[in-house]
Structures are given as C-alpha cells and as structure tokens.
C-alpha cells in the first residue's frame, strides 16, 4: 500500500490538538506550562481553557511534582516541555512522585530527535525513550505523524490509567496516516507487507522507512514496515510474526541505539525468537546544529541512509 502525504505538519501540532480534544471531553484535564507553551503544543489548550492552565515558569521539577499532586487529587494533568528537560531534568520527580505513586500524569516530550535541527545537541531529545522506558508503570508513545499524534494523545489522556510519556517532534514532516485509523496504545501497526526483511520504525522514521522500502523493492528486496508507535508496552506479537516470516529485523529511531526502540526490540527478540537485529539510530554520540534534513542525512536516518544500511547487511 502506498501512503499519501497530506501535507507537512509537525507532530507537535497533533499533540496540541489531542490535548485540546481530550480537554473538551473531560473537565478534569488540566495543563501545566513551563514557559515554552507554544513550542510544545500546549497553546491550543491554554487559549481554550485559561482557567485550567497553570503557568509554572521554567521549573520542570516543580511542574512534575505539581502534576503528581493534581493527579492525586483527581485531576488529569498534562505537562509538556522539551523532551530533554522532561525526561532528564525532572527524571527523579517522574520516577518517584509520578511513577511510584502510579498516577495518571501525561508528559509531553517535545523536540524529540535529531530533526530538531539548528538548536543543536542540548535541545535534541535522543535519550528520552531510554530514561522513560526503564521506569516502572510508565507508558511510552512515539506517534509517526501529526494525525496519529492527535489520536494517540487523546487516547493517552482519556484511556490510560497511569503515567504516560508522549514524544513528538518540531519539524513539519509528512502527515500521511488516516483520521479514522485503528489505533490502540501498545498495538503496533503493520504499514507494509514484505517477506525478506522487516523495518521496525518509530516517530518520523516511519515515513522514511516506507520511502526506503519502496526503493529497496525496486532493488529486489521485499520489505515489511512496522510502525512501533508504542515503545512500552512493546507489541511482542507483531515482532514474533516478523521474526518468523522475514529474515532480518532493522529498527530505526531518532534516538540513541542504546535504550530506545532498538534495545526494546532486541531485548524482546533475543528472549523469544533470536534473529539478527540491526539498530539504526544515533550511535552513542550527541547531535549537532544543522537543518533537519541535513542532520537526518548525516546520521543515516533518512530513507537513503536506511536503504544503504539494509543493502550492506543484506549483501
């Protein structure tokens, strides 16, 4: 099946639309802002529900603890900031006040991945999935486009029970999934059939993987593409099928190859169906400044980079 890009749109916008949609349905939804409200997608909610939005200043640790307190008192708090600050600066607050209490707090991790671009390494969240995934009770979601980000966020807020981390990007990227798609947290999507190799991608990399699959098909390699939009809980069933029906698994993520999607897939398959797993992502180094497309290319994370890596391993 071929996917049509409806037009480029940041996943951040989808997140913001999802928060707004959830807040319209449930008056318990409240928002916390750490100064960068517009750039983390909280502006729609803040404008629509000023009485339910609290400006907390540049104080991520307090934001997370406050969110926990709100949740313990029956609210559904949504706190969004750059993923680097949410997942790292406030990590202990997330671990104890949110995860150990096992309260329903939704954390938005903006500026995910290398495609953040010119801001450079300090603002590119490349380790956030690792530090969020390891925490007990935490759900980690990484939607592939703006449409899916909206659906995932709305469900994360209205349907999940415990802590949730939703990761999304800054760059306008292809928006290609259907408004009426079947989407279930924890259940990956089979995007494309194939029987030689499987590419398991997450976030922006799903589009790149689909592009790569088209190119590889012309070179005689049949590629299955899976959108692993939920990193935790991981969909093991779809991986078992891929491991038995194709001969090699590739993972692609805008994240370190340590600790994120690649690690999660390798951990699962090494225990359940050993097969070669090749992890494509950031190789234990920080990012840098540049245009999003330049950086995706430099680090081998665009379709061309994926194609080259698959060809090298497949040969």
């Amino acid at each position: 099946m071929n996917y049509i890009n409806k037009g480029n749109k940041p996943t951040k916008t989808g997140f913001g639309e999802g928060v707004l949609a959830a807040a319209q349905q449930d008056s318990r939804v409240v928002g916390l802002g750490a100064d960068i409200t517009n750039s983390v997608g909280m502006n729609f909610f803040a404008e629509a529900f000023p009485d339910r939005f609290f400006s907390m200043g540049i104080a991520e640790q307090d934001c997370v603890a406050t969110a926990a307190g709100l949740a313990l008192s029956g609210k559904i708090p949504v706190f969004s900031t750059y993923g680097v600050f949410a997942a790292h600066r406030a990590n202990d607050q997330i671990r104890i006040s949110v995860c150990y209490n096992n309260v329903h707090v939704v954390i938005g991790g903006a500026h995910a991945g290398i495609s953040v671009g010119p801001d450079g390494a300090t603002h590119q969240a490349l380790e956030d999935m690792a530090t969020m995934r390891v925490l007990p009770n935490m759900t980690v979601i990484s939607p592939c486009d703006a449409t899916q980000a909206k659906i995932a966020t709305e469900k994360a807020i209205l349907e999940c029970k415990g802590p949730v981390y939703v990761r999304f990007g800054r760059e306008a990227v292809p928006d290609f999934t259907a408004e009426n798609q079947e989407f279930e947290i924890g259940k990956a999507q089979l995007m494309r059939e194939g029987n030689d190799v499987t590419i398991v991608a997450t976030g922006h990399e799903v589009w790149e993987a689909l592009e790569a699959a088209n190119i590889l098909e012309q070179k005689g390699i049949s590629v299955r593409v899976i959108n692993m939009h939920t990193i935790k809980p991981l969909d093991g069933e779809i991986l078992m099928e891929a491991a038995s029906e194709t001969r090699m698994i590739f993972t692609v993520e805008e994240h370190q190859i340590i600790g994120g999607l690649g690690s999660a897939v390798a951990e699962y398959l090494s225990e359940n169906h050993p097969i070669k797993v090749v992890r494509i992502g950031m190789k234990d180094r920080f990012g840098e400044s540049g245009q999003a497309s330049e950086l995706m290319h430099k680090f081998g994370l665009d379709a061309e980079g994926i194609v080259n890596r698959v060809l090298r391993e497949w040969a």
Partner: protein, 275 residues
Amino acid sequence: MMDLQAKAKHIRELILTALAEAGSGHTGGSLDLVDIFTVLYFNHLRHDPKHPDWEGRDRVVLSIGHTAPVLYATLAAAGYFPEDEMLTLRKLGSRLQGHPSYEFRLPGLETCSGSLGQGLGVALGMALAAKMDGTSVGSGTVNRVFCIMGDGEQQEGSVWESAMAAAHHKLDNLCAIIDRNRLQIDGGTEKVMAIDPLRDKWAAFGWHTIEIDGHDFSQIKMALEMADNEKDKPTVIIADTIMGKGVKSIENNNQWHGKVPTKEQLKDFLHELHQ
C-alpha cells in the same frame, strides 16, 4: 492539652517500639515531629479516619519520607489502621515501607516520598486542585494541604521552585511546616550548607512566615490557625525542634538521625519517656 500530652507520649512509644523491632530507620526526626503531628491530627485537621478517602479532607504530605514512623504512628493512633501493624515496619510485605509508599494504599497516606525536595510540589498540586474544586466537595470550605519538610531539605533547589510557584498562585490553602532541628547527617545544617536566614528567604519568596517552638502545643495550634486565616499567601511555619525530642539521652545528637534503639536500649528509652 493534657490529652495531647498523653497522645504525644503514646505516639513516641509506638515509634520507638516499631523502630527497635525493625532494626533500622530514622529515630531522631521521627521523634522531634511528634508534637506537631499530634496537634495536626488530634486538634486541627478536618479528616475522618473511618473514611480516609473523604473528599472534604485536609491533606498531609510528608516530604521527608525518612521520618515515616511519625506519620505511621500518628495515623495508627488516630485509628486509620491497627496499632499492632506498627510492628511490621520495614518488613517484607508490610504496608509500612521504609519510606512511605502509595502502592500499598495505607489508609491516610496521601503520597509516596523519600526523595527530598518533591513534597512541596506535590502539596502545591493538591492545593491547586482544591482551589479548582472550591467548596464543591466535602466540608463546604476549600480543602487545606499541609507539607512537612526538613531543614536539611531546604538545600534542595526544587523546594524553591515550588516555593516560588505556590506564592505566585496565591495558594493560601497551603501550609508548609519546616522541622528546624538544625541537624543533618553530616552535622549541623549551618556547617553542612547554611540555610539561614531561613525565615527571610521564605518571606522574600512571598510567603507568610511564622516561627514557633515546635514542641509547644499552644504555639503549634496558634500557628496553624494563623495559617488558616491568612489570605492570598501560603504560610510556612518554621518549627524549632530538638532532634530526638522526648528521650533525653539522645536529644540533639545527629548520630540518632539514622540509628534505632536496640531492644535493650528500648526499655531505657521508654522509661525516659515517662519521666
């Protein structure tokens, strides 16, 4: 007041007995908070031990999770759970975890704690929620939230993030109580990392500040009432306390921050309590 004296003495007995049985834990801070907890739970809070989830309740957040024994003992004495359960402190499967755990749903416990500097933020979230709910739930007045902090804990930067935010949002239903025993593990607070002038710092952050003797029931009660009546500002009560209060031989000795009595010492300590 005589009644409160007797309650406080009983709570100290429960703490010492539980700690000696557990074989580990934090004696000093647990003992010095007893008088404050006694006034809070037996003479101030709106709460119902038979209905711990009552929506109209005031909430207590113990930010210094290591002093869990004083919270557990007070909850037990107030009737939230049987006092016998104190003897399970820190044991496998117990609801009385070494540091408070929300996972075990101990009646009366509002949140986990143990990593310093988070309780005030959690309490602030509860106070914000109470403000949003207004008088629509429970008692007909806005629920109040009390956060118990340590003085060493004031060294955590996150405390001051929350201090700033609580004043900014004018949370007059939030009251922080600082256990100013002047001791932490490495020694005196002013030697390890000076926090004075503590009251001036809180005042500068926009809080209503009160300083009291944390072992004087009438001063504690008066301060809590002043906090209740303050409008548009959160209140901090800096309570001067003596670490290990109640057992003369261990008072004001930071060796007793994280040490517990042996079973032999327990007899002497209980004897000292009643002198």
